[in-house]
Symmetry: C2
Subunit: 300 residues, 2 copies
DNA sequence: GCTCAGCCATACCCTGGAGGTATCATGGAG
DNA sequence: CTCCATGATACCTCCAGGGTATGGCTGAGC
């Protein structure tokens, strides 16, 4: 399969008419018909139902269409970004973060760094794995994540460990309790983020696995708030780092776990062996203050 | 560019030796060299630095490598999933939503529908535009968004209009006021969602534009909560639908706007001309109750 | 310092496959 | 019932992907 197959397929899926699609693609209808047939052979499924007045997408075809579009979008985005990167000769300080660390002190770090003159901050939502890759590639300069990753080119520093809490729908049998993992495992679980992996989701799964517990992952969500929305919808429960409870929402209660050792670290990643730039030194100083505040209980 | 270019590139990037890479790819070295050159011409950047003993990835090449790998992974995953789906014969009820409608009553709708036996709900975060496309393609059955879109195949029903509020960093000069758009336009603005467009972001931009006001878009964020995190970081302010204020977070205050007519509709989209299925009838009934509750003030 | 080997790039060539035209079959609209 | 729109198949052309041959460059080894 080649990208042209996906390009042809997507146009055909939009037009639902090979003749019109061929016109849009500046080619004639017979080769387009063959290319779609070839794609269907390679996929091993019918993507279209043929009719005398055009085609309809099968359910499989609809599914394939979404993903094909995403692939083509990502290809275009990658080309654009690669070209921009090739041209760029700017110096800036990039911060990567997983969303679940953005409810605590990280905004304060950003606020502090923004007061420095001549610093151009960029903020990027990235998984911890993506942060490692982005650090190595030079796209960010510091990252805040949740996973420990051993990489020869990156040093990680655990800032602090944060208790994991359970987010439950209001009225849940475990509301008001301090449940064990075993008690939690009896209920459907909502995992976040769904993609990309590995992520905090895998940390949570690993937690249950290490306790010899099976969980029923009812659904996955990309956004933390969508996961909370699903909890509010009584689809299941989810586990979140403590700082997430600062954002209260209707329909949800948070409970501490019985086991106080169940925590998630906030981990700071930097490139290894790099003398800290002045802005990195400033960031380190602000971080020290923030961590000390947390230790001393000035901030939860 | 075709997938084979990405495939060839990734193997070369791993081997850093064209001769060895060609062997792995079961082809000879000269055509591989040409294909990589062709890719570099199309990208418009050098991905490798050549040496007498092999090649090295440039910084741009490293960046490209990550994304190329992701694209190839997604292609493989899509093929696998498509094949699996072709074998599966399931019926389900799909709900699409923009995140900013998931803080109000939508969780109650989901909770209500889930009580029905034999209904398999799928929930998908989609922009309103994506919802239209998904409805037409049959991927979802009902959608909740913010934009009015005229499409012959989709009927839209405005459930209610929701006031727009401003989210300000604590200590902001406008805190405690009921500002006008003009007053707000003087401050940097954070827009969400960044992509894909059009979205609520465009509604907000259109609002300022119609009042003849220019805004300084300081940054864009995909997640609403990331946008709020940026507000908490004092990077700027943002505008949100009223129901978002139910999720309180540190460092942010919400203020009503002077102009009460500045609202954002919650819009329900369905396929046009389709007799409602039993599950759709049930969804409509639950929606009616929810909207009536809102009108009568039982829920904000 | 010289030689050789490893490696990438270029020149030239061949052929398989992408895209073309011609045409057939089918079924729905009028 | 007829005609037209549409997709599929047969046959054809030609170009681009992949082949071999070879040259140029540079570093390792003696």
């Amino acid at each position: 399969m080649e990208l042209r197959h996906l390009r042809y397929f997507c146009v055909v899926a939009e037009e639902l008419n090979l003749t019109c699609a061929a016109e849009r693609l500046h080619m004639s209808q017979p080769p387009l018909s063959r290319q779609i047939k070839q794609l269907e052979r390679e996929v091993g499924a019918d993507l279209f139902e043929r009719g005398p007045r055009g085609l309809h997408l099968t359910a499989t075809g609809q599914f394939f269409q979404q993903h094909a579009l995403q692939i083509l979008e990502k290809v275009d985005a990658t080309l654009d970004a690669t070209r921009r990167m090739a041209r760029s000769k700017r110096v800036m300080f990039g911060i990567g973060f997983v969303p679940s660390v953005f409810y605590g002190q990280l905004p304060l770090l950003v606020r502090g760094l923004r007061q420095k003159d001549n610093v151009e901050l960029t903020l990027a939502e990235l998984t911890t794995v993506q942060q490692i890759q982005a650090l190595k590639a030079g796209r960010i300069d510091i990252g805040f994540g949740r996973l420990r990753i051993d990489d020869p080119d990156v040093e990680q520093e655990a800032l602090f460990d944060e208790p994991i809490m359970a987010a439950l729908p209001v009225g849940h049998p475990l509301e008001g309790t301090t449940p064990t993992l075993e008690e939690l495992a009896a209920y459907p679980l909502i995992l976040f983020p769904a993609k990309p992996r590995p992520s905090l989701a895998d940390t949570i799964l690993g937690l249950f696995r290490r306790h010899g517990l099976k969980v029923n992952v009812m659904q996955e969500a990309n956004e933390l708030q969508t996961a909370l929305g699903l909890v509010a919808s009584d689809i299941g429960i989810t586990l979140v780092p403590e700082q997430v409870k600062r954002v209260q929402r209707d329909g949800i209660v948070y409970v501490y776990l019985a086991d106080k050792n169940i925590t998630s670290p906030v981990i700071c990643s930097r490139r290894k062996g790099e003398a800290p730039s002045p802005i990195m030194q400033e960031a380190n100083a602000i971080l020290e203050v923030l961590v000390e505040n947390r230790r001393s209980g000035r901030y939860p």
